[in-house]
Amino acid sequence: MIELREVVKTFDGTRALDGLSMFVPKGSIYGLVGPNGAGKSTVLRHITGVYHQDSGQVLMEGSPIFENPSAKVRLADIPDELFYFITDSTRDLMQFYKGFYPRFDLQRYEALKDVFRTVNEKRPIRHLSKGMQKQSAFWLALCCRPDLLVLDEPVDGLDPVMRRQVWSLLMEDVAEEGTTVLVSSHNLRELEDVCDHVGILSRGRVLLERSLSELQETVTKFQLAFAPGEEPALPEGLNILSESSLGRVKTLIIRGNVEEATARLSALGPVLLDALPLSLEEIFIYELGGEDYAVRELVL
């Protein structure tokens, strides 16, 4: 659906995107994660056609997005910081967007009134709370019936019930309409629940990009303990991302095939050996640990 190839973007001499490449499969919910300043919002602004890359390509199904209304008309976005015309209500904006998006669904707009019932559609948006403004944005974006929905910190400001409601609507669109959702968020626990693909950004590049299940299979947490007085050397060739000890229990984060790693560790004769799947948050932290992301030790 969306492909970025070797994209470079420089701001005032600083490379915000440094040859970034990524691919968002059609019908996926793609989570874009990364530390602050990694370039997530910059990536999203390229995908929505706001920024123009210095070099590289930003494509939607093979066509460039920048200055391409036929591609842009298929996407809707909800940025982290919303903009609305100062006197406009949700209804005014509906009238506005209706003129741009040929698939704008008025029936859905009416139907979603019930979901977003706390939002007074005739009240100027500037008078709504932050959460209500976000609801209004979702309401309008969903009515555009986009093929691609680009979300930057989408549920920030929403209460837990509304979060669930919104995710449910999104999942429904993905399942029924084949909508692709690209979402950038720091709430990794939430992303873990909804995303099927994840891309981790660091310093303007995609560090790794896989389906969530692949990712979780690739990196495993092992806990092992040896009999007192025994502590054999760990086998060579294991890609150990992290190693720590608490008493006699040693914790290893290993990237690679889980069966192979289990077999090799078992050969050492531990009295305890457990292989545990990693959460997305843990993967994020351990992967970025290799990138000298200093918070790693503090978290551990």
Binding site: T48, V50, Y51, P69, S70, K72, F83, F96, G99
Partner: protein, 680 residues
Amino acid sequence: MRSANWCFNVPFFRKQAKRFWPLWSLYTLLFVMLLPMYMLMQAQARFLGPESLADKFQTYLASMATFGSLWINLFFCILVAMALWSYLYNNRSVSMIHALPLTRGTLFLTNYVAGLLFSIAPSLVVFVLALGVEVFVGALTIPALCTWLLCQILFTIFFFSFATLLAFVTGHILALPFFYGIFSVLTKGITMLLDGVFSSFVYGYSERSLTALDWFGNWLSPLYALQLKVRPVRPYVAEDLVVRPPMEVSGLGVLAVCAAVGLGMALLAYLLYRRRSLELAGEVITVSYLKPVFKFGVAICSGLAFGMMFYQLFQQFFSRGIWSLLFFLLLWAAIGYYAAEMMLRKSFRVFRAGAPGLFALLLLMTAAMLAMEYDISGYEKTVPDAEKVQMVQVLGWQDSKLTTAEDIGGTIALHETLIQQKADIERQSDEYSRNSNSDYYKDHELYSIQLRYTLQDGSIFQRRYSIPVSLETLEQKDSPAKQYDALMNRPAVRVETIFPATYKTENLMEISMNVPDYAKQAPATSQVPGVRFESDPYGQDAKMILSGEAAQKFYAAVREDITAGRLGYVFLGDFHPEFKKINCINGIYFTFRQDYNKTNSVDGMESADTRTRYMEKQDENGKRISYYEQNLDLQITASSTIAVLEQFGLRQGVHFMTVEQAEKSGYLNDPKYYEKYGYQ
């Protein structure tokens, strides 16, 4: 598909029109009040016939089409530009608008057309309403109304395009009106500042003498150029001297060119938009190659403007001269430079990083000032070759146009003396301007003269100098004062200066001369036809007024005396020992009727002879006439003139007298003299 309109987007246009309705509504209301409503009120309030009303409407529409449209559109267009392009200056709005399925071209064209229509559509409405009013009151002026509409459209195109171009140069909404205001008069301001610096430090520099600089100042400051060129005028009517034709608008061609330039600016703005990096919202300058221009431009302008201002302010504490100016110039250039650097970098920590650029700039400015001081170009020492001079105008206290080889040679000799005695003249000028002793000014004068040579190839060469005049300098054989005195008092020069060729004898209307007020006692003294006296009930003098043959006779005598060197002698300073002995207290005023001609009708500031200032008055039938005046002091040596005066019944010592005689008789000292002693 609604969004498929690739070049113009109706929903976006509708949104912009709806968002900013107060702006264009206010504009409409303003012009409805200024045109149809005002015209209706004028028709109701004045009981004029349709023709007079139409004339009033035409005159009013001409001024509205020029000054009215110029100033209102100047302000309105920047407000519209700020409103319509405001989405470019905020990261949130940038992201929202540019994520819409529109190209930048569509956004630009939609907004640009919206901006033009915000002014043009209301103008059309006002045009129709004003036409309705004219039909209603029966005073149709369709050409004047069309001219007004045309001016409205052309001014809108120019000013909105100008604002649009600047909108794409900056990324900050507050910088936009600032740049707009500055660039409207920037080059004129720079020219004036440079003129100020050059006048102070380039010996002989004459303001506006550098044609390229003058052109740069006049034409690249749109507000100045348009105000100067687009103005209401009276059209040329060859024979009609009394009935004023209605006003028309001149400079429509200039305005059309400006509008065309405006369209070019709009195209340039679009090209900038296509390449604009939207992440630069909030930056003062968004075009990278203009950043150094901005930085050094601010530094130079700051140096020139504030440097000159503080130099003038502190000159009583510092010695006048290049070094104190250089100090203030460099100080303020540095302040301007760092201010610009701070704006560009959005940081106060700019001193170290900006130092190399500043150093280079200050070095360059110092070099330029030194080059000026030491006359590297040879400007100060250049004198035109006499053979190449077609004519020279000596402009100053009295303006003369000299064409003979002898006069041109005399002017060049004076010019060379002024150059040779530079140091002495500068010292005396400085002393004159700083001296605080009031007695000093009783016998010292400082004349400023401009020598304007027209060369054989038509080009102009001009210089301006100060000439210190005192009893001492007037007696020195080779002093500039003595040379100037000799040049200006050549009889041929005096005739040409007092009565230039453009003053036609047949246009002489009347001559008046002030005389001591004996008319109170003998109001009908003269029996000579064409001579009458008018007393001034409030003043000391009365007037002798000559007309017809009497005026012609007197005028011929005056010319004869001037030609013979007996009248019209100019004393440089009334402290001249001969002044009181020769000059009389009687001023003579010659009034000439002014012919309408194309030159003076197109632009009131220009005339065939720059020395002439025209005035208007009503004749006995209540109709307006144009005229100009020349005045001259009677001199006791003017034998022919005095003979004519005596024929008219005036007597020396009574009706005309020298300043010395008047002082001795007490006339000049005691206004009540004649009440006490009478005239005998």
